[in-house]
Amino acid sequence: MASNVKPRVKVPKSASAGEVVTIKTLISHPMESGQRKDSAGQPIPRQIINRFTCDFNGQNALDVTLEPAVSTNPYFEFDVRVDAAGEFHFTWYDDDGSIYEERKSITLA
């Protein structure tokens, strides 16, 4: 498991029914591309976050497949339609099998 992996998400606390809210997510992760070599000239093995999903109340909003070309500390910004109060569920999948999760709730204004 990569060290110091910390997911961060920015979600509004409330929205009106049917409102489209913008969500920003960032997870601290080296996204080792597999293209780099260490000081001895040996390739450094690839280890990246390969998938990110955002669900709202059990419905998927976004499902992202990441390749090594995604930058260190993968950042995503996207929109979700909020029809009811509920919970966002964010999941990041690491090459090493680790799964990082974050949940945020939103109320109706």
Binding site: R36, Q59, N60, V64, T65, E67, S71, F78
Partner: protein
């Protein structure tokens, strides 16, 4: 290793796009790709895609060691068909976005990004 000849690189991207479209040839337009004209640091280049009516958008880099960059799939809770992220670009190159529409058709666009410092490490 010697640099690959250009046709090989072009076909590598074409192959990756064909794998995404199932062999269909995407039409020009219908998808917007926002990327800087000049990226000083190829390690973190902001890009955004917007394709109204799309179920998925895939981004390809023509000048990276691996052509695939990122694929966004939009679910029923999506509020738009926009998404943005930050990517690595090894050198000055064309970035291509291909959108899969709800009706099964495909659309594409591309943007040239000039990269000052490449983003693939040594």
């Amino acid at each position: 290793a010697a640099a690959l000849p250009l046709p090989a690189l072009a076909s590598k991207v074409d192959d990756a796009i064909a794998a995404f479209t199932g062999g269909a040839t995407p039409a020009e337009g219908g998808v917007t790709l926002t990327a800087p004209e000049i990226a000083e640091n190829g390690n973190t280049v902001p890009i955004a895609v917007d394709a109204p009516g799309a179920v998925a958008v895939a981004v390809f880099a023509t000048g990276n060691p691996e052509t695939g960059v990122v694929t966004f799939r939009f679910g029923p809770a999506a509020g738009s068909r926009m998404a943005s992220t930050r990517v690595r670009l090894a050198k000055t190159q064309d970035v291509i976005a291909v959108a899969q529409m709800e009706d099964g058709s495909f659309a594409r666009t591309s943007a040239t990004v000039k990269v000052t410092i490449g983003g693939c490490g040594g």
